[in-house]
Amino acid sequence: MKLLIVEDELKTAEYLHKGLSEQGCAVDVANNGIDGQHLALEYDYDVIVLDAMLPGLDGFALLRALRGVKQTPVIMLTARDRIEDRVRGLHEGADDYLVKPFSFLELLARLQALQRRGRSQEPSQLKLANLRIDLLARKVWRGTTRIDLTAKEFSLLGVLARRQGEILSKTAIAELVWDMNFDSNTNIVEVAIKRLRTKIDTPYTPKLLHTIRGMGYVMELRDEDSPT
């Protein structure tokens, strides 16, 4: 994925550059609106991450200039959590917005969602090592063992399995599984993951459901867990 980051806060720009590069993206950085506009118009990016408050030329003006020429997806970063700012960003043609302080994971999830947008239909079957999920029949197997899951446990597994290798924060899981769009400050997701793990992961190898402390959960096949 080829990305452009337009952000004047150097520390923010630096960690975004580092983090996104490590995720395998090709990242360009501009530290002011004028450079950002030049790059955005000159090259073709998959997604542009655009700060609203910029020296030289602010994010909204850049977005307007860009939308006059092309439809590159844009995620706006705003420091002010005001409705007008959000509405204004979306009105000017931004595809998504994030309010600072945002978590890196959330940005990653939004970027992936933007990239996924418009892709062909989801597969009806998912496989990871010896875990097999039939999304249509809502059935799960580990090897040859059929596992019974409740509806919500199945949704949770589906959310994690569809985003293999992607770290999902508790907030993101709450949103995707229960449609709860807020920081819930609860241990609900922890409890749910614990249950799911007991059913689909603990009795089996390799281990597929991992906790990333302080960040969230990821479903992936790791080398150290692979059978030797």
Binding site: P101, D179, T186
Partner: protein, 485 residues
């Protein structure tokens, strides 16, 4: 520059005249006095004029009747000289009173400048005026025709009296009246100033007292006991405003302290943990451990800040947008579903009761957030195996969502304060393991309710704690929209 200052001063003074109650009262007193005294003066003047004229007319009439009697029975020229002598005696030397007798026969005539008499104005009742040369003396006249007698033909007797003394009297009276009136107005103004000054004394006292209020002495109030009725209402209202201000100020101060405290704990953990990590050679996994711990603290900070920003926006009166018509029971069930695993783990059941068909115009994510905070709160304060009740009630244009859990009785003094930020019933209790929020959960419930135009309530009776919030019912929401457009 100095000119500017001067004009500004003048303008301010003019402004003061307009605004000063004393000066306005004095001017109004003066105006009232002027109008009253003028009316009295005018009436007196009118009476005086009428009386003086009547008096003069009586005088004229008396003289006329007197002479008429003398003339009536005089028929020969020899006796006319006696009449002439009588008229001479009656005529005073200053010419105040004059007599004329007009006759076709020159023998029976009397008076100087008889030719002038022709210019005399004449009214039906015999009254008239005449202007005499050389100095334009004005006379009021009364004339009478006397029938012929013996030799004497019919004569016309005219008596004239000078109006100058009357005019003089009236002029003097008018002058005195105007002077008296002006001095009376002046006296009224002075008295009015004194009265206004005296009457406004309580106001001055009040304003002096109000000026003495300082931010440091927030508990200070205006004394309302000795104030007149008109001012005591104002002072009571002012004291009420002061009270609200004090409460808000104290709440803000306490809130600031709480915020600092809440932020201090994670910050101390971050600083301390990082310093410890950096003070020795560490392996990569050890650093990883520190970073993970830091991330947890940072996430806590972010969460607190986000919640505070949310509350600040609600405080600034931000209203919920994106309202949709929703079945309240359906949203309640969806939110309970979110807690499914936790409820299951603790063996707690939730019953949804009441008007399950109630509809409301709500912002669904905000509604779920508020309700999940209430459920979270109820679960945290319930023992394993407890039964929670969510009751939906449609009453008085609002839909109330009441979440009840069995729990220890909460003292009445704590109940309304449960919705305050960072408020804890037991200040010393701080079980980190049990509480996942940071003391803002119920404050957020209140914010969500107020963003919808609803309110909150807390009740604790018979071992059941009920915390509730309301959102406007669909009808009320429609009405509000209809009113605003």
């Amino acid at each position: 520059m100095s000119w500017n200052c001067a004009t500004r001063t003048v303008r301010r003074e003019r402004g003061n005249v307009k605004r000063s109650i004393t000066i306005r009262l004095v001017l109004m007193f003066a105006l009232a006095a002027l109008v009253t005294f003028s009316l009295i003066g005018a009436a007196l003047y009118g009476v005086l004029v009428r009386e003086l004229i009547r008096h003069q007319n009586d005088d004229l009439n008396l003289n006329l009747q007197n002479l008429r009697y003398s003339i009536e029975h005089v028929g020969i020229a020899e006796r006319w000289t006696r009449v002439q002598a009588k008229m001479d005696t009656l005529t005073p030397s200053d010419g105040r009173l004059r007599f004329w007798v007009l006759s076709d026969d020159p023998r029976f005539q009397y008076g100087k400048g008889l030719d002038r008499i022709e210019g005399m104005s004449q009214e039906a009742d015999g009254h008239g005026t005449i202007l005499l040369p050389p100095n334009g003396q004005m006379l009021r006249t009364l004339s009478l025709r006397i029938e012929p007698y013996e030799d004497r033909p019919a004569v016309r007797l005219i008596v004239g009296v000078d109006v100058a003394p009357l005019e003089h009297t009236l002029h003097a009276f008018l002058t005195a009246l105007v002077l008296l009136l002006l001095s009376a107005v002046l006296v009224v103004m002075l008295l009015g100033y004194w009265i206004a000054h005296l009457g406004l004394q309580p106001l001055k006292q009040l304003s002096k007292e109000a000026q003495g209020l300082r931010p440091q002495t927030l508990s200070q109030r205006l004394h309302t006991e000795n104030l007149p009725v008109e001012l005591s209402d104002l002072a009571v209202a002012f004291n009420g405003a002061l009270g609200r201000l004090q409460a808000a100020y104290q709440q803000l101060e306490a809130f600031n302290a709480d915020v600092a405290h809440e932020l201090r704990t994670p910050l101390a953990n971050l600083i301390g943990g990082t310093q410890v990590a950096l003070s020795r050679q560490r392996t990569a996994p050890q650093f990883q451990e520190v970073l993970q711990s830091n991330l947890e603290e940072l996430d806590r900070l972010r969460s607190i800040i986000n919640d505070m920003l949310f509350l600040a926006r609600a405080d600034q009166g931000e209203a919920a947008t994106g309202l949709t018509e929703a079945c309240v029971a359906r949203e309640v069930n969806k939110t309970i579903e979110f807690f499914e695993f936790v409820l299951d783990d603790k063996g707690i059941t939730v019953a949804v009761q009441g008007e399950l068909s109630a509809q409301a115009a709500i912002n669904i994510p905000l509604f779920r957030r508020a309700l999940s905070n209430l459920l979270q709160n109820a679960i945290e304060h319930s023992a394993a195996g407890a039964c929670l009740v969510v009751e939906i009630r449609n009453q008085a244009e609002a839909v109330w969502i009441r979440v009840s859990n069995p729990g220890v009785r909460i003292a009445a003094t704590h109940l309304p304060r449960l919705f305050d930020r960072f408020y804890r019933v037991d200040a010393s209790r701080h079980d980190e393991g049990l509480h996942h929020g940071h003391g803002l959960g119920l404050a957020i419930v209140k914010a969500v309710a107020s963003m919808h135009g609803g309110s909150v309530a807390a009740i604790s009776v018979d071992g059941v704690t009920t915390i509730a919030f309301s959102v406007p019912s669909l009808e009320a929401a429609f009405e509000a929209v209809a009113h605003s457009t």
